[in-house]
């Protein structure tokens, strides 16, 4: 018999009580795990952007277009390596609820700028560039909608009417599937030719929704952004240029203060178990006063008694918390299939934070009872009825 077996025996002497505490701890860490994954996905929204990518939008708001003539002027700015542009199509498939993120893009430059994130097979890319009514879609998106390469796909727009047909259904041929190159990339959208878009829309011709550019190095980002915005200052369409990361983050933050909500919920959950487990541990040790007295009489040192009690609360926290983080990881994997947010996982920093919380929980809840056990006077302990 060693100290660990004493700790185990103490912990499971009141099986019901211990099980209940384990359940409470388990659910608190399950909440932590799942929300930490959500937070990680949230953090990742900004991070998926490359360091040397900038976004230029209309200063009024990114939903306002830029004159297409701006693109060539941006291309001429020193420090700019590549520029592409895209227009929001307002696409949906079959019914308005099935919204598809769809952009009309300049294909060569667009695919080039994002080559490190997602790509087509060379054959598919060639086919896409060759046919102006072709479209490409994220592989998962195509699978979800049951599309196969070669299919004719009628996409609806809630904004644009096709001049040729007078309808807001546009027909495209799916010629390729976008596969992620980087693990966190998520090509969950549809791309088609801006040329086709420009010649078919009934209004908004010769505009770019926004410009996307790659600089020669991230060190020139600020200078390039300043130069572009200065170039169009006081024109009818002033611009705002920012890094892709900052742009994505600002957009995501429009949903609300997700971080604050997560913080409040996780804080509440942890405070709850701190109260429950802390009080129960104090009670459990108080019930054992006489035994602790006996152990001290037998010659157990105070420090060892202290460690035994603290070990018990630590073990409790780990037994409840570790499986919870495991289940959280599994649940996040399942949610990831549904919402296709790539960062939705328990990343190592959050995993470490979870472990840290377990240790903290164990220490905080064990400290008072362990201290009380350490200070226990043998005579009063044995004299107590």
């Amino acid at each position: 018999m060693n100290d660990f077996s004493i700790v185990l025996a103490n912990l499971f002497r009141a099986k019901l009580r211990t099980s209940l505490m384990l359940v409470a701890i388990f659910f608190a860490f399950l909440i932590f795990g799942v929300l930490a994954g959500v937070q990680n996905g949230w953090d990742n929204i900004g991070n998926s952007g490359a360091d040397n990518r900038l976004v230029t939008t209309n200063k009024i708001n990114f939903t306002q277009p830029l004159p297409i003539s701006y693109i060539d002027r941006i291309r001429a700015v020193e420090g700019v390596e590549k520029v592409t542009y895209a227009n929001w199509f307002g696409g949906f498939y079959q019914e308005p609820r099935n919204v598809l993120v769809t952009f009309a893009v300049e294909p060569e430059t667009y695919l080039d700028i994002y080559r490190s994130d997602f790509a087509l097979t060379p054959a598919a890319e060639a086919a896409f560039l060759a046919d102006r009514t072709a479209m490409v879609a994220g592989a998962k998106l195509a699978e979800k909608n049951g599309w196969k390469v070669g299919d004719k796909i009628p996409l609806n727009s809630n904004i644009y009417t096709n001049k040729a047909t007078g309808k807001r259904v546009w027909d495209f041929t799916l010629v390729g599937l976008l596969e992620p190159v980087k693990e966190e990339a998520n090509p969950n959208f549809v791309l088609f030719h801006h040329k086709y878009f420009n010649e078919s829309v009934t209004f908004g011709q010769n505009t770019a929704g926004y410009a996307l550019l790659r600089t020669v190095d991230k060190s020139v980002n600020a200078a390039v952004a300043e130069k572009i915005d200065a170039m169009f200052a006081n024109s009818p369409a002033e611009t705002a240029t920012d890094t892709e990361k900052a742009f994505n983050k600002a957009f995501a933050s429009q949903l609300g203060n997700i971080t604050l909500i997560i913080l409040l919920v996780v804080g509440s959950a942890f405070f709850t178990i701190l109260m429950i487990v802390g009080n129960t541990m104090v009670m459990a040790v108080r019930e054992r006063t006489r035994e602790i007295g006996v152990m001290k009489t037998l010659g157990f040192r105070d420090a060892r008694i202290f460690r035994l009690v603290l070990g018990e609360s630590l073990l409790l926290a780990l037994l409840g918390g570790l499986p919870a983080l495991g289940l959280a990881a599994v649940m996040l994997g399942m949610i990831r299939q549904l919402v296709a947010l790539p960062g939705l996982e328990l990343s190592p920093p959050y995993l470490a934070l979870g472990l840290l919380f377990m240790l903290a929980l164990g220490l905080i809840t064990g400290l008072i009872p362990a201290w009380k056990a350490l200070r226990l006077n043998i005579v009063t302990a044995l004299g107590r009825q």
Binding site: I25, F27, I31, N234
Partner: protein, 395 residues
């Protein structure tokens, strides 16, 4: 009567002995309070958002969008269509015989949130002089109405609270043009309070929309006139518009976000409730254990098992009820009326206040009582089945 006396006596004993288990009981109360607090915060968010959108709708005001558009932002209506609509039946007419209606243009512009300093989408609405008359509850709370043809704007009260640069007298720059805020309006907390209003032709000019608008609002002679209006539009090939009552339009806009908030709130609260339930069970089992002598003594005196059962259950329910009320109170004090905003379906920020309605409070307290009921039931069974011989236990 005798059984009632017994139950009252046992309950009194249990409740009076609560201070002996003060910290443990407090932990249950706090756990339940936090669970209820989290649930109510989410539900109050959903309710506040829904109220803001529902509060916007009037059954007597019709909204016309291009057929197929679900939102103002992707609708277009030409001047010719607007003129045709003015001839439609069922519209309230002004003394001069013209229709009480307002063609409006809705564009998205940037504004900086006071709290985060980040840019967010807000709507700039180009309106005519009749726009206020088409909105029930519109009042100017400061300043005056904007002058037609000028760069003056009036702003919704909720928007000025949430976004910087739109206080009365300030001169924000939008689209290379300097505007002047000349008035602040309130509209019973509806969606319109999250908007900037400017003169329609000025906005059309700045955004190069010519004479195009996106929506036409008009006042119906009564809710039943909506069908006639739709019929009129269907029979006129140049129109092809969809007529909504304002009420149904905004009710449709809220459901997605409200469901999202509720779908996030309930599972989280239930997971937390399971944790709190474990705590409550723990507390009540300890309570029964610490009172086993009293319970057994009462059984010796001839008390039945049922009062012991009820007494324990009542104690558990009392603790969770206190917790539930505490959680409700905290949410009410801290969050009721707390203003925040999110991206609405029109792709712009909607400012809304968390709203803790009585119905939500009832849901919170019910959740607390469910925790108390389950948390007390099994310990109560144990109390009822306690061997009477325990009264002799040394102690």
């Amino acid at each position: 009567m005798r059984i009632l006396n017994q139950i009252i006596a046992v309950c009194t004993i249990n409740l009076k002995s609560l201070p002996q288990r003060f910290w443990l009981s407090l932990s249950t109360v706090m756990a339940v309070a936090l669970v209820v607090g989290v649930l109510l915060a989410f539900l109050a968010m959903a309710a506040g958002f829904q109220q803001t959108l529902n509060g916007t709708g009037s059954a007597n005001v019709a909204l016309l969008l291009r057929d197929g558009s679900q939102q103002e932002v992707n609708s277009t209506i030409t001047l010719e269509q607007t003129r045709l609509i003015a001839e439609a039946p069922g519209i309230v007419r002004k003394p001069d015989g013209s229709a009480l209606m307002s063609a409006e243009l809705y564009v998205i512009v940037d504004a900086v949130k006071r709290a985060s300093g980040l840019k967010s989408n807000i709507p700039l609405r180009g309106v005519g002089q009749d726009a206020p008359a088409l909105r029930d509850g519109f009042t100017l709370v400061a300043g005056r109405m904007l002058q037609p043809g000028s760069n003056e704007i009036i702003v919704g009260q909720a928007l000025t609270k949430e976004f910087a640069g739109f206080d009365l007298g300030q001169e924000p720059r939008i689209g290379g043009v300097t505007w002047k805020v000349v008035g602040v309006f309130a509209m019973q907390g509806s969606v319109f309070e999250s908007e900037l209003w400017a003169d329609l032709p000025v906005v059309q000019g700045l955004f190069r929309r010519g004479s195009i608008t996106q929506t036409v609002r008009l006042r119906l002679t009564g809710p039943e006139a909506l069908a006639g209006l739709q019929g009129y539009s269907d029979n006129e090939p140049r129109l092809k518009l969809k007529a909504f009552s304002e009420k149904e339009y905004f009710a449709g806009q809220s459901s997605g976000t409200v469901k999202l908030i509720q779908y996030a709130g309930w599972p989280l609260s239930i997971a937390m409730a399971v944790g709190a339930l474990a705590g409550a069970l723990n507390t009540m089992y300890s309570s029964v254990a610490s009172r086993s002598r009293e319970i057994a003594t009462l059984r010796c005196l001839g008390f039945g098992g049922f009062p012991a059962f009820v007494g324990t259950l009542v104690e558990s329910l009392a603790l969770s009820l206190i917790g539930g009320l505490l959680g409700t109170l905290v949410v009410w004090l801290l969050f009721d009326g707390f203003t925040t905003s999110t991206l609405g379906q029109g792709f712009t920020q909607i400012v809304f206040s968390l709203s803790l309605t009585p119905a939500l409070m009832v849901q919170g307290v019910v959740l607390a009582l469910v925790v108390g009921l389950i948390g007390g039931f099994f310990p109560a069974l144990r109390a009822a089945r306690l061997p009477i011989v325990a009264a002799y236990a040394q102690g």
